[in-house]
Point group: C2
Chain length 227, copies 2
């Protein structure tokens, strides 16, 4: 195995018995007839199960809907892209000259696909347990952060559903104040639920985040009042 | 374990170390707080990987798009429903009285979900290899039939794409003859590709099937002419 593949294997934490699988996983379809798309097909399914299993254990009280939501956040392209960058995949990819010149080694979709193909390659090389161990190493640090996002993101939907179930009108959101400079702002948003005379304030680094926080607080108050 | 659970395990071909997992997998959410939805979440992912792996081996020359298409046909609800019936799951389900009276034990979605939950239960009980063995026993007999359907179904799309890529107009389909009685008919459909003067005949038990067959034959002729 050439030195850079060897070093890459070490970063992955998996030593390939069949090194040709790793090479294939790093080969984009622009490079030639043998490329990583079949391994990506397999790796996508391996990743999905390995992440499902992690969540099943870690959130042993959460209903299926929450697990599905967190999983969707974990296996999406930008997450795989981040991990691919942290492993230094761009320098390892085999692309056609044209694709390489066009910046293909930095394209999020190409990197995310290669990341899935690598997971598929480990699975073929050494079975599910080895692939699951890889996924655990790569994804465990991201789970709690992602779960928080996935839940927070849903506060607006939850609030709306809560109100609709009781046939009340939808809440209104307005920005109360904005602090800080252009790329370092903090937003304060008010979520007003007219039917219940509730006004909740949420703060966040984006308008969206502030709205979610405000919705979460409004929902807490409404739930407490109605217990 | 009670006798019917014992017999059911034997039909599955898996002897549970943790029998409570099997009971949980057979428990619909209408029955109580502990139900099979989390196991279904897991089983869905197990099934997806196990089927992907089977297809990866069995169709070792097929591109990723074909594998994805066959997989989608294999893991859909009506396939799971068929398997659930063949295993006698309706008699094993635990449903609320209301759900049972309403015919819940025959509902395809409830049966398909329970089937996935059972696959998840085997996975939790004995790991991926045991679950994969179960999926192989249940699904292997269906693969070649399903693959044929998945491919055949796509002949019309393939023909259309072939013609569009060459900027020719779309083919026309017409029924030439219909034989047999109402519920036992055979259709003969002609697929006419005006731009190439090609008329191909396909026979099938439905208009749709006959069209697909005609499209497949037309595409074969066009491809042969253009090699």
């Amino acid at each position: 195995m050439n030195p850079s593949l060897e070093a890459f294997s070490q970063r992955l934490g998996h030593s390939f018995r069949q090194r040709e699988l790793l090479v294939l996983a790093l080969t984009h379809r622009s490079y030639g007839a043998d490329h990583n798309e079949r391994l990506e097909f397999l790796g996508d399914a391996v990743l999905n199960l390995a992440v499902s299993d992690l969540l099943f254990d870690q959130y042993d009280d959460s209903p299926e809907g929450d697990l599905t939501r967190i999983r969707a956040h974990l296996v999406r392209q930008d997450m795989l892209h981040r991990i691919a960058l942290s492993l230094g995949i761009p320098a390892m990819l085999r692309l056609s000259e044209g694709e390489a010149r066009g910046g293909g080694a930095q394209r999020p979709s190409i990197l995310a696909d290669a990341m899935e193909a690598i997971i598929g390659a480990v699975y073929r090389d050494a079975g599910f347990d080895a692939a699951q161990a890889l996924v655990r190493r790569l994804f465990s640090p991201l789970i709690s952060e992602t779960a928080t996002q996935a839940w927070a993101k849903d506060a607006k939907t939850q609030l709306q559903e809560w109100l609709q179930a009781r046939r009340h009108s939808v809440p209104e959101y307005r920005i109360e104040t904005t602090r800080g400079r252009a790329h370092d702002q903090t937003f304060v948003v008010v979520c007003a639920v007219a039917s219940h005379g509730v006004e909740a304030r949420g703060e966040g680094r984006s308008r969206r985040a502030a709205e979610q926080e405000a919705a979460r607080i409004a929902l807490e108050r409404l739930s407490a009042e109605h217990e």
